[in-house]
C-alpha cells in the first residue's frame, strides 16, 4: 500500500499534526435563550432548566461557532488543515465517525464562545465498508469571554475514495435477453443477419418461441428455417410509460405474422406511431445494438 507518492502527501499531513487547523473563531452571538429553546424543540429535550434559561444544554457547545450552512464569503478559515492534501490524494468523500465531548463547566446564557481547533492525527490507509481511506482527527477547545475553558471535543472523520463506477453503468442500453440452449440459435442467427425459426425435423411444424420438443409430434429433431422476413402486423402497441434508457418514445412494438406462419414480437422502424395499422405489410431489417447483439426491426413494405 505504500509508494513514494502516497508517502509524500501523508508525510506532509503528518508534519502538520498539532498545528492550528483553522484560525480561532468567536461566536457571532452569545449563548442565548431563543436558540436554546429552538434546539430543545428540535431535539425533543424537555429539561425545564434549559427552557427557563438557567443553563444551556452542554451538547450545544459545538453549535455556537459552527460555520454557516450557506457558504459565507465574509468569513475566514476555509477547510480544516490537512484536508486539502487528503482530497488531492483522491480521498474526496467524507463521513463523520467519532465525536467525544468533555464538559468543564456549565454553559450559560451570555457566554461568548471562542473555538480553537488543532489537527490531532491521521491514520494509515484503512479498508472500510465504504471504501479505502484515512481517519483524520481534530481537537476542538471552547473558551469563554474570560479565556476560561468550558469544554473540549474530539472530532474524527473518515476521508475515503468514492467507489469507481461499476461495470453495470457501461452496460448496453437495451437489456440483453436471457438465452438458453433452446434459444441460442435464434440470437446467433440475428448476429448473421438471419431470421431463424425452429422447425420440427420430423413433421415440419414451426415452433416460436422455440422449445426442445415439437408440440405437434413430440420429436426432438429440428432444423433452423431461415425466414424471408416478409410479414404483416397482427397487433401492436405504442409504449409511452414507463420509459427505459436506450429506447425512443413513443415506442411502437408490433406482433408480426411472418409469411412462413410463425409470429414474433419486434420493434417497427421509420414509421410514425400514428400510422401503424393491423394488417400492414412489413419487411425485416437488422439493427446492431452493440457488438454481437443484433435485433430484428420491421419496416413498412414499399410499394412494388
Amino acid at each position: 500500500m505504500s509508494n513514494a507518492a502516497t508517502n509524500d502527501w501523508l508525510t506532509a499531513v503528518k508534519a502538520q499534526i498539532g498545528r492550528e487547523a483553522l484560525p480561532p473563531q468567536t461566536a457571532v452571538d452569545p449563548v442565548n435563550l431563543p436558540m436554546i429553546r429552538r434546539w430543545c424543540e428540535a431535539m425533543g429535550d424537555r429539561n425545564p432548566l434549559y427552557a427557563e434559561g438557567k443553563l444551556a444544554p452542554p451538547a450545544t457547545l459545538f453549535m455556537w461557532t459552527m460555520s454557516h450552512f450557506r457558504p459565507d464569503l465574509s468569513r475566514e478559515g476555509g477547510s480544516l488543515l490537512g484536508l486539502d492534501l487528503v482530497d488531492a490524494a483522491g480521498f474526496t468523500s467524507v463521513v463523520a465517525t467519532n465525536v467525544e465531548e468533555e464538559y468543564c463547566r456549565d454553559l450559560r446564557c451570555g457566554d461568548v464562545i471562542t473555538q480553537r481547533v488543532t489537527l490531532d492525527g491521521i491514520s494509515e490507509e484503512k479498508k472500510t465498508g465504504l471504501g479505502v481511506g484515512h481517519f483524520v482527527t481534530f481537537r476542538y477547545e471552547f473558551t469563554d469571554q474570560k479565556g476560561e475553558v468550558i469544554g473540549r471535543t474530539l472530532f474524527r472523520v473518515l476521508k475515503f475514495r468514492p467507489p469507481a463506477k461499476t461495470a453495470a453503468a457501461k452496460k448496453s442500453p437495451v437489456p440483453r435477453p436471457p438465452v438458453t440452449r433452446d434459444s441460442a440459435f435464434f440470437w446467433e442467427g440475428l448476429n448473421q443477419r438471419k431470421l431463424l425459426v425452429r422447425q420440427c425435423g420430423n413433421c415440419g411444424r414451426l415452433h416460436h418461441p422455440p422449445g426442445p420438443m415439437c408440440p405437434e409430434c413430440n420429436s426432438l429433431e429440428w432444423r433452423a428455417l431461415e425466414c424471408s422476413g416478409r410479414g404483416t402486423i397482427h397487433s401492436f402497441v405504442i409504449v409511452h410509460q414507463p420509459q427505459m434508457p436506450g429506447l425512443n418514445y413513443p415506442l411502437p412494438v408490433a406482433l408480426i405474422d411472418l409469411e412462413e406462419g410463425a409470429r414474433m414480437v419486434a420493434n417497427l422502424g421509420e414509421i410514425a406511431p400514428g400510422k401503424v395499422r393491423i394488417g400492414m405489410p412489413v419487411d425485416v431489417d437488422f439493427v446492431e445494438i452493440e457488438k454481437d447483439f443484433v435485433l430484428p426491426v420491421f419496416r413498412e413494405r414499399r410499394a412494388g
Binding site: 435477453p177 397487433s235 409511452h240 412494438v253 406482433l255 410463425a262 414480437v265
Partner: protein, 390 residues
C-alpha cells in the same frame, strides 16, 4: 355425477388491513394482521390453523407467518405460480386439503407493500440467466415490451380490431368500477367516481391503454379462512360454500405473453376455468347474480364476460354499453370497486367481496344472491371460484 369437491369446503372468515399507498409497516405484519382478523371473523384461534396457501410474488414465507401466529402444527402449505392468475387457486388448494383430511383449517393470504416498497407495474428486466422461466421474457424484453400494461395492450389492440370495441368501452369498465368504489368506504377511491371524459383525458400508458385503464398499486393484505363445510355450520359466520373451484392453462400458454396462439384476446385459459366451474357447480351463467372479474387492466374484463357466456364472443362491448355490469344491470361486476377502484391486492380482495355478496354484507349489495363468480388474473395461467350460500 356430482363433482366430489362441490360444496365440501366453505369460506368461514375474511380479514383485511386498510388499503393504502404507504402502509408504514412490514409486509409480514400486514399478513398476520389480516390473518388474525380473518380468524377472529371466523371465531377460530390462530392455534387451529394447520394449513397455509398463497401464490407467487408474495414475499412472506409460510413458516414466518406460522411462527408469528404461534401456530402448532403446519401440515399443508402450497404456493401457486403465475402471480395474479393464482389468486383463486389457494382457495382451490384449501378446499382440496380440508376435504381430503390433509388439513383442517387453511388460511389463504396476500400481503404486499407493492406501492411503497416497490412499484408493481414497473418494467421487469430479468437477470440474463439461462433458465426456461427467464427466457420467456427474451421474446419481448429487448423490444421494450416490459410491463404488464404493455403485454395486455397487445391483446387489447387486436380485440378492438376484431370486434369493433373502442377505448370508450374500456373506459366504461373503469367508470363502472370507480362508481362501485365511490360507495365502498374501504376503497382507496371512496367517494371519487370518474366520468368517461376523465378516462378519455387520462394520459397514455401503452396505447391503447390509458392511465385510467390500469389498476392501482396498493399496500395492504387480505386473508381467507377455509374449513370443511360440516364444521363451518358450527362456526360464527354464515358459511359461504365453495361450490366450484378450478385452475386452467392451455392453448400454447405463456405468462402474460400468449401471443403465438390463433386468437390472442380469447383468454383460452379462462374459458377452460369457466367450463370446469360450470360443470362442477352444475349451473350456467343465468344462475350467477354478480361477479368479481379480475381487472388489473380494464380491457380484459370484456372477454371474460364472453368466456363465461354472459354474452357472445365480441359482444361484451354491447353488454357494457347497455349498463349490464352496473348495479341494477344483468350482472353487477366488481361491486367492491375492483382493483381499479378498491385496491390491487392481486385479486384476493375480490374473493373477500364475493364472500360479502353471499353473506349479504357488501356496500353495493346485489339482491337475491345465490352464486357469485370470482376470477383470477387474465392473460396468465389462471383460476376461478363459484361461491354459494350454505
Amino acid at each position: 355425477m356430482t363433482h366430489p369437491l362441490k360444496d365440501q369446503a366453505a369460506i368461514v372468515g375474511i380479514g383485511a388491513t386498510e388499503f393504502s399507498k404507504d402502509s408504514g409497516r412490514s409486509e409480514l405484519q400486514l399478513a398476520v394482521e389480516a390473518i388474525k382478523a380473518a380468524l377472529d371473523d371466523a371465531g377460530l384461534s390462530t392455534r387451529e390453523v394447520d394449513g397455509l396457501s398463497t401464490f407467487t410474488m408474495d414475499n412472506n414465507p409460510e413458516i414466518e407467518i406460522f411462527r408469528n401466529l404461534g401456530g402448532r402444527e403446519l401440515k399443508f402449505f402450497s404456493r401457486i405460480e403465475y402471480g395474479g392468475g393464482g389468486a383463486c387457486a389457494p382457495v382451490h388448494q384449501a378446499a382440496m386439503a380440508v376435504h381430503s383430511g390433509v388439513a383442517d383449517v387453511v388460511v389463504c393470504y396476500r400481503a404486499m407493500n407493492e406501492r411503497s416498497q416497490y412499484r408493481f407495474g414497473a418494467s421487469y428486466v430479468p437477470p440474463p440467466m439461462p433458465s426456461a422461466a427467464l427466457a420467456t421474457f427474451s421474446w419481448t424484453l429487448p423490444f421494450g415490451l416490459t410491463t404488464p400494461a404493455s403485454w395486455v395492450a397487445m391483446a387489447a389492440q387486436r380485440y378492438m380490431h376484431d370486434f369493433g370495441a373502442t377505448t370508450l368501452d374500456f373506459g366504461r369498465v373503469s367508470v363502472a368500477g370507480r362508481r362501485m368504489a365511490a360507495n365502498n368506504p374501504k376503497a382507496w377511491f371512496y367517494q371519487k367516481p370518474i366520468t368517461l371524459a376523465d378516462h378519455q383525458a387520462s394520459r397514455w400508458i401503452v396505447e391503447p391503454l390509458r392511465l385510467l385503464d390500469c389498476c392501482q398499486e396498493s399496500d395492504g393484505a387480505v386473508a381467507i379462512v377455509v374449513t370443511r363445510a360440516d364444521r363451518a355450520r358450527h362456526l360464527k359466520q354464515k358459511p359461504v360454500l365453495i361450490r366450484a373451484a378450478a385452475q386452467g392453462a392451455c392453448d400454447d400458454q405463456m405468462n402474460m405473453t400468449s401471443f403465438y396462439r390463433k386468437d390472442i384476446s380469447a383468454l383460452s385459459e379462462m374459458r377452460l376455468v369457466a367450463k370446469q366451474l360450470y360443470a362442477m357447480a352444475g349451473i350456467g351463467p343465468r344462475d350467477i347474480q354478480t361477479a368479481v372479474l379480475y381487472d388489473h387492466f380494464s380491457p380484459f374484463v370484456l372477454p371474460q364476460l364472453e368466456v363465461f357466456d354472459f354474452c357472445k364472443r365480441g359482444e361484451a362491448k354491447d353488454f357494457v354499453r347497455d349498463g349490464q355490469i352496473d348495479l341494477g344491470g344483468r350482472l353487477p361486476v366488481n361491486t367492491h370497486g375492483g382493483q381499479l377502484g378498491e385496491a390491487y391486492i392481486h385479486g384476493v380482495n375480490g374473493i373477500a367481496e364475493g364472500v360479502r355478496q353471499v353473506r349479504g354484507t357488501s356496500s353495493n349489495q346485489v339482491s337475491g344472491v345465490e352464486h357469485v363468480l370470482v376470477t383470477a388474473g387474465t392473460g396468465v395461467p389462471t383460476s376461478g371460484l363459484i361461491l354459494a350460500a350454505g
